[in-house]
Amino acid sequence: MDKIKLVEATQLKEGIPAFKSGDTVNVHVKVREGDKERIQEFQGIVISRRGSGVNATFTVRKISDGVGVERIFPLHSPRLAQIVLVKEGRVRRAKLYYVRKLAAKAVTQKTTA
């Protein structure tokens, strides 16, 4: 397996903040429009982190215009310009899939310390 790690190591990003499920993060995504590149922000709660090495991903959920939106980002993707840890949350499990069924207020209650 070490040969695979060797290959993956070249693609791992450094300086990724330590964030966990329940935290609120602001993800800066590089968006290419034609030949222009701009940054799009996606802020929400991290409801899941999975995988290891280059295959690690995390899921961010937010409520946009009353509709729940979830995006799954590869943690080491070169398309992510920056991940900003906005607020730490305090939750009691690693996967917060249950928040999909909760009202917005209940989500805040569940994820604040």
């Binding site: 397996m1 040969k3 695979i4 060797l6 290959v7 993956e8 693609q11 590089k30 090495g53 280059v54 295959n55 590869p74 080491h76 993707s77 070169p78 398309r79």
Partner: protein, 208 residues
């Protein structure tokens, strides 16, 4: 045109230039040693025999030892002939390394698929089984169905697809793209999957 021998290390995903995650297979390819050069004058055809994967000297038998000694090669586990080195002046003892490939090349990868044991017709030949699961039926879901007609021909045709041993056969996957080559550590990375289990031997040829 050229080729090399290698060993499957495993799969992972890597990001390409567009930031897209690409499924990749990591192959330890080479270094290979030329153990024999066949010529049409002497052997009736042109080929280069490559050897790969060193093993302990005492694990090889005397005939093979003699054969390898002619090329000055060490004890090798795998010997394969390549007929694709046309026109390249290789001589016994030469080394062939991964640097014969570069990023973006198309390659064909040959290996031995994982053995699946005795399998039914649904898994082995992609039959769809017979009939339905419900409506009282209880035992035909993965059955092969009819295997032929009756009094004529009174036999089952040769090659009729039936249940049996599956896998552990030579499989070639063609036109795989080389994602990256790391010559220092003899690593070749191709896009997509490759036949066989981890540590399985592979033959890698430039796509023709």
């Amino acid at each position: 045109m050229s080729g090399i021998l290698g060993k499957k290390i495993g799969m992972t995903s890597l990001f390409d230039d567009n930031g897209e995650a690409v499924p990749c297979t990591v192959i330890e390819a080479g270094p290979c040693y030329v153990t024999q050069v066949k010529t049409s004058a002497k052997d009736g055809y042109d080929a280069v025999q490559l050897g790969f994967d060193e093993k302990r000297e005492r694990l090889i038998n005397k005939p093979l030892k003699g054969h390898l000694a002619k090329a000055g090669a060490k004890a090798l586990r795998l010997l394969r002939e390549f007929r694709s080195f046309n026109g390249q002046a290789l001589k016994p003892g030469d080394e062939v390394k991964v640097d014969i490939f570069s990023q973006g090349d198309a390659v064909d990868v040959t290996g031995r698929s994982k053995g699946r044991g005795f399998q039914g017709v649904v898994k082995r030949h992609h039959f769809r089984g017979v009939g339905m699961i419900t409506h009282g039926q209880s035992d035909r879901v993965r059955a092969p169905g009819s295997i032929g007609s009756s009094s004529y021909p009174s036999r089952v045709f040769k090659g009729m697809r039936m249940a049996g041993r599956m896998g552990f056969e030579q499989v070639t996957v063609k036109n795989l793209r080389v994602v990256r080559v790391i010559p220092e550590s003899n690593i070749l990375i191709v896009r997509g999957s490759v036949p066989g289990a981890i540590n399985g031997y592979l033959e890698i040829n430039k796509h023709s």
